[in-house]
Symmetry: C4
Subunit: 348 residues, 4 copies
């Protein structure tokens, strides 16, 4: 089984399902509740229409951009997702190598199978660290310090998981959240089951100051914002970027699609920070729709895991390359040779 039969990212899920353990597939693929938001994330892109401009010189189309000052080959990064060991024995190190092959921004999850230092060693390109706080603040502080030391370029605080969402399909699929020590590599050193301390319900705006202080000089990204109000608060609390996400439809079912709140967030941020988006990006045209609404970069989660499951690092690189080729074609046809050329006027 390989990616050879995949013509687009749409093809990845069934191919990956065939090679993944059923419980692992249920964990990766599922959304919360009725999976309304999961479906709507993709449907939201289909509700947007692109307005192509013709007779623009598109002899040189370049999707490169920068995020937080770092040059990236395209406005598409790898979203932080947990437990890559479920998809491939090489886990996050393999994913990092794949992203590195195409130079794409890689964001490592706190809940990685490997310890963050092991992954950092495999990184060959821009990389950020996603943080879940721990019920023990000392652990949180230590994880932040290690991420800074390991050379990650930004700290991405996820704020939409005070508790884990109710994922019915996960339950039906027999997935059980791991409790054995060592299943989350970064937490292995803190003793038994510490990594399973997922309750983050104590996170507040006030607590953000402490995290910013500990993670300095790294820029702070706040991930999981779905309202203009919270986007403004994030900026006021010093976020360098606001990341619009509903966690791939895995947390609160019935939230709007990420794309549908992007404009509200962009308006609230009002140029004071960068804005990113994940949840539902599957096509080059999806990337353009998000850029047109004001996102600086988008992130993909499940497709990367599917590429990883099917072919390891090269699968990750192929998935990202597929999306990049689609993006270049779409930019050519939209009449926008650079990402800076994509404007609100390119959306109907």
């Amino acid at each position: 089984m390989s990616l050879d039969r995949a013509v687009s990212l749409r093809d990845l899920e069934p191919l990956a399902e065939a090679v993944l353990d059923p419980a692992a597939f249920a964990y990766i693929a599922s959304g919360a509740g009725d999976e309304h938001t999961l479906r709507d994330n993709e449907a939201a892109f289909a509700r947007r229409s692109l307005r192509p401009r013709v007779l623009v010189d598109v002899t040189a189309v370049d999707p490169a951009t920068s995020v937080l000052g770092t040059r990236v080959p395209m406005p598409v990064g790898v979203a932080p997702t947990a437990q890559h060991g479920l998809a491939h024995p090489g886990a996050e190190a393999e994913t990092a190598r794949g992203a590195g092959q195409v130079g794409a921004l890689f964001c490592l999850s706190t809940l990685s199978s490997l310890a963050l230092e092991e992954v950092a060693a495999a990184v060959d390109g821009p990389a950020w660290f996603q943080l879940y706080t721990h019920t023990d603040p000392a652990v949180t502080d230590d994880v932040i310090e290690r991420a800074v030391s390991a050379g990650f370029g930004a700290l991405v605080l996820t704020v939409d998981l005070p508790v884990v969402g109710q994922r019915d399909r996960e339950v039906r699929g027999g997935y059980v959240w791991p409790t054995e020590p060592g299943r989350f590599g970064t937490f292995a050193r803190y003793g038994d089951g510490a990594g399973a301390g997922l309750h983050r319900s104590q996170d507040t705006w006030a607590g953000l100051a402490r995290i910013r202080e500990r993670s300095a000089p790294l820029p702070l990204v706040v991930k999981g914002v779905l309202t203009g109000e919270d986007a403004a608060l994030a900026v006021e609390h010093g976020a360098a970027a606001v990341w619009v996400s509903n966690h791939g439809g895995r947390q609160l079912d019935r939230t709007p699609a990420s794309l549908d709140v992007l404009e509200e967030v962009v308006d609230a941020v009002d140029g004071r920070a960068e804005v990113y988006l994940d949840s539902g990006v599957r096509r080059g045209t999806d990337v353009l729709a998000a850029l047109a609404l004001g996102a600086r970069c988008v992130f993909v989660g499940r497709p990367v895991l599917y590429g990883l499951a099917l072919e390891g690092a090269s699968g990750v690189a192929r998935v990202l390359g597929m999306l990049q080729r689609e993006l270049v074609t779409a930019m050519t046809l939209l009449g926008t040779p650079t990402v800076a050329d994509v404007t609100r006027a390119h959306l109907a």
Copy 2:
């Protein structure tokens, strides 16, 4: 067969269908006419989007509230539904015990299989009595007096059943409305078939005064309101609460979904009475949508009957517990630690 295979309330109907007599299932599950309203009741919730707020302290989430001054553990009660004997030999007493296990508000139907006194004896928590008037006013008066004596905490007058709706699926399923004496326990003492005297077309606003007088000191709830006009009339005629309902889609097909008229009713009531809602509530997020639009409490009907059919009292308790757990998770993810925190701004 049990509830073990039910991950959410969505799973209950097929499980219950397998254990219920087909005609009884048709009676319980069916809606009127084309079942447009039946389907729309659930679809209306899916049309609403929740706006989760992040970095709110949700270390202590509590869904408790009060209805008409009575403390309840959650803003979800058991809607009055007829003939629980079709689902379980223990009938409404079993349901009342199940509700009592989780402390949920239980509303008994006039058309119960057991006599209201038999059910009252099993009640272990807040309980209300739902009234259908009888063509013989003396019977109505007596029933009211018995309900007051039995200790029910409020009288809920159902106003959307001047005649029984046309339920095609019921006819196809072979369900026949019972006419033998004793099938409706509360009416057994009034002689043959009296309980089958379902014509209530004589109920009017003017008649409400008499009912209020007879049922004093119990607060009066008017159930089955779908317009702002009638909500205002109910308040003006002394209702302590207005209950938005289309009878689970069983009366007039093509009415709006209950949720879709909730805001109109809340506006018309304008704080002068409490507002409740039933019809289509299946998820914790549904409860939040109704609260956000101004409901103080919602009620569930069919899911409770399915739990009753599958496991008796413990099935009822499990169904209510499932919904309560969903509600707590949803409140945590919405950033609303108490029901009072849920506002109109939490809906898109």
Copy 3:
């Protein structure tokens, strides 16, 4: 095969298909083109919501009304449809007898299998005559004179069939328009194939004057109007009633559903004439939606033919009775004891 298995008018089509000749069924059931309008006629009713008012005295609900001064037991009549001989050997006489059993208004088509005089002899209730003009004005004049003599109470001029619509399903089903003399009873006396002279493209507003003059003293109804402009013209040319219809979706595909233009027509007529509607009426609630938008009466076509095919006159009566019972139930539940009580405010 009979109507015994029909719980509502929705059940009639498959039952009738089983007893009808396939080509005849294709002729009766088909719509024009993609059948977009055919489907939309019914879908339009499902897009409307009824607002039931409660605690109205509905001890006596009466659907009776009058059309053009004639009392009818309900605001539902039999629409003119061609060639009842395809459905039953008794043809239109049988249909007229069925309508008579419930006292419903019966409208006879020019293209009847039997001669209009034969049908008139079977009529036992209010009856109107629908006119298609003939390319030979002398034939038109004679037909009008015969209809007046036979005692029909109004002349209904159909204006939406200058040519027969393109009905793909009819072609696929092998239906061939009859050309033998005598297949259209009313035209038999005019010689070979005269009845097949269906081109009416010469009809104009100017020509209406001649028809009115010839048909006096009968009131003139203009049937097949879908715009406010034409409704106003019909009134200005002396129409006593305007009949909103897209010919059951059989003429121009992609017209709006009849219900969707009713309000526009009612506004244009502005009380100067009665307004009727056909196309898509299948439920008692459909009738109420049309009344709420200003129709005085609605007409049903295919369901009557299906009743005729299944059981002859008694089938026609049962279909009409089924709709009448639904209507009474719906009026009771809507809180409108008479048709005059149904207002625009009963629609959301």
Copy 4:
């Protein structure tokens, strides 16, 4: 296999699929990406409603019109499509003969299987030449000169194909873009593979001047416009007509349906040029919707290729004739005896 079983253009695709090479069928039938735009092109017509006017004299209905001063029997032409040799050995010459049989406007693609002169010899009616520029300007100039010499009546510059769209279905179907010399007849003389030089990303508004100059005295049509902005630019750069098209959904997926931007283009052109439309036209009523929104002519692509595949020239003529008959019926029923009678008021 023939067209005998085709009742409407809707029937052509499956019939043609049965006779075409699978890869060729994939090439012809496919759209870009998720084929969202492909589907939406047809769906857009179904979202429009026609408002038929009655009692208009329609004894003589004539769909004839003129385009750029040339009289055509109907406002429906043959869109330029590549490689007719995939569908029939007679290729574009056969198509031209078929169009000639009904006098329809035929537009030849640059990427024809036969050399343009071979096709010109078969033309028997109005014909235009569609131009793709070549990376070698000398080749472009020569092709233009040959088209002028061969007697084509207008030059249609396609501007929506700077690169070929990403057509997933084409890839799945095994279609491979030809690279052997001679597969594109017009390019055969320029040496190996020249015809495969499809990169036209260098086309700009500035370059249009050169093309206009070289193609004078032929009028220039700009094809592939989807925005009012570009329509205005086309007019300002001397276009005699603006052709609204999304290339049959084959280029950028997620553009609006052609019909949905027609009004915007018509408004921007503001009478300064003619406006045409292709993409999704399958019904006579579709033609009327486009005319009502301001198109002077529409073009059909795939249906013509399917007719060609099924029956050669006569198949092409039958497909066009089928559409013309539908159009005449639709004009009759709309109450618009000439195309000039069709106005914006005929759309709801």
